[in-house]
Symmetry: C2
DNA sequence: ATCGAAATGACACTCGTATGTCATTTGACC
DNA sequence: GGTCAAATGACATACGAGTGTCATTTCGAT
């Protein structure tokens, strides 16, 4: 273990022969000390390797400069994009991101939020609007900006940055209907504690209803949580084995859609001739697949950036004009449907 | 902004009518207070929503329970897996992960490390062995476990957990040679400040040399940093347009390999008949591609877990038997080469 | 009622940094 | 040598939690 001990301001003071106060001033208000003194301090700091203790500083200033961010999982491109977007903006504002992973469990989300609060985070960014009572209470009592992301809902706690999962899903469904598909199945996933997934499902059902289409129960399917590329293949193959197979399948998550397409192609099932496939999420590979995927593009990185930007604005006491920001989505009509 | 003010132990004391000391004891050494008192304290805490200030606690205990982790990028499945692995283990040990993204820049890495130290992180986990002088100095002076990951190198600072990029690359190269490919090209990427990429390149070159194969300069290619799925297609198409195109291309990164395969297939270039493609990284889709990808599996999540586990062990003052841990890799021989 | 132990409280001090008030030193200028 | 401002220093206090020492209160057992 590389070892040195903690070097404090006091050590800098001792090593430089200057008083603690002067050293402190040289760093915090350089204009109040002589240039020469300041240089001496900086030189000493460099020599003995002093790094200021931000925790102690935070205790005094009542600002930790840390921002808590909760994501359901990291190992999903979109959430990684989101986290990366947030991290970039936060770093630019000299803020440290605290990352928590909830695994889509309300308890883990609450635990992460509790930890952020205990660590004196200045703001908290969470995914979705579905929280446990405890978590809700914590966030409401929290003294700082709270951003809910990845969806739009009326019951926002404070700020929200997202897109309408309901509308996105409904738009895609309408597109499929307009395209003339008559036997449309849908595959949801990761419903637990997940308003995004629920809204996607409802968006589909609503659009179908509005078009006067009934949806037989066997056309509403789901893959286990977390959604993976592996789950799509077996599912669509079992669908295609039916005597009245669907002519279109709308996957409410991208990975299973990709897996489904791969499975179809390797079984000689043509996409979209034999079955159309639509996804949700638009990963970078989707466009390059053997049959480019028709899907919904989500601006995950931008969402992370905006969430962070709004936090920064709030913390700087600038007003935040709108507290609900819709970053939108985009139907990517390609070949697969 | 949800608002409440900071609630301190003192407030609990006031609200409960108990002295500060008793409240403190009720929490820290429950056996020294009466059961009834303890309950009263807990009830008050719940009522007024007290959350302990871990920063203040850390100041005294000299332990922040935060662990800094630097990754080059988050938006790469493997690094996300790695971070997720680390996060899971750290959370299990009641440790908070501080995530820093270096974008493969030495300066940003150094900056992240400096921040971790300033925030009193108890341990630091970095990617690779290539650090700026400043960063190296910081890590050497750091008073806590330092883990270098994603490679194995003799010049480790402290602990290291990784696999041999050199060997992995060399193994794949030998496999291609043994398979009878005679005109093998390679595509590297993200070489800047990246010992992993460098070692992969050298592993290839070394294996070729040992097999008595010369590698013409035009067979050594690179994609820009960061590596993307988009870069693979144009590159392999230009290769295949040569009058003496390679019969195998070893991509030292997975995404360009995937992009290359997709591009070939949509151009009617058969894989592996017209050109074999090998990758490095084995993302979950690789196995499911139209032509399953021959590649090298890296245990990214496990690497993150082990790095975190070793940190936890060290912090618990248990001995860490080996300070160099090889998590290995695996050649995944599939159809594409 | 008395004794003793357990429970609780009071006070001082620590961690590293920051700041406000006031005192002292330094140096330049006349 | 005297004056004044700038630079520096000393001291106290704060942030929130925690500990050590010692004093006081409470309560049960005798």
């Amino acid at each position: 273990m590389p070892s040195g001990k903690k070097v404090t301001l006091k050590d800098v003071s001792a090593a430089s022969g200057l008083s603690l106060i002067t050293v402190s001033r040289a760093l915090r208000r350089p204009e109040t000390v002589q240039e020469e003194t300041r240089k001496k301090v900086l030189k000493t700091i460099d020599e003995i390797g002093y790094v200021p203790n931000l925790m102690a500083r935070s205790l005094v200033s009542n600002r930790s400069n840390m921002i808590g961010v909760v994501v359901p999982i990291l190992t999903s491109s979109l959430f990684a994009d989101f986290a990366q977007g947030a991290e970039t903006v936060l770093k630019g504002a000299n803020l440290q991101m605290l990352l928590g992973v909830s695994q889509r469990s309300r308890e883990q989300e609450a635990e992460a939020v509790r930890t952020f609060i205990a660590r004196q985070a200045d703001a908290i960014i969470v995914t979705g609007f579905t929280h446990s009572d405890a978590c809700h209470k914590l966030l409401k009592a929290f003294d700082g900006p709270v951003v809910e992301t990845w969806n739009l809902r009326p019951e926002a706690l404070d700020i929200s940055v997202g897109y309408s999962n309901f509308d996105a899903s409904a738009d895609m469904t309408r597109y499929l209907i307009d395209k003339g598909y008559r036997n449309i199945a849908t595959v949801g996933g990761a419903f637990e504690n997940n308003d995004q997934a629920t809204d996607r499902q409802n968006g589909f059902l609503n659009a179908m209803r509005q078009a006067g289409r009934s949806v037989p129960a066997e056309n509403i399917l789901a893959v286990p949580n977390p959604t993976t590329i592996e789950s799509g293949g077996p599912l669509i193959l079992s669908l295609m084995d039916r005597k009245d197979p669907p002519d279109a399948v709308f996957f409410q998550a991208e990975l299973p859609a990709q897996g489904a397409m791969m499975a179809c192609l390797s079984r000689g099932i043509r996409v979209p001739e034999d079955v159309a496939i639509a996804g949700f999420g638009d990963l970078s590979i989707s466009r390059l697949m053997p049959v480019p995927m028709t899907t919904i593009k989500i601006r995950a990185e931008e969402m992370g950036q905006r969430a962070a930007e709004l936090v920064v604005q709030r913390l700087n006491k600038d007003e935040v004009p709108t507290s609900v920001e819709d970053v939108g989505f985009e139907l990517m009509i390609r070949k697969s449907a």
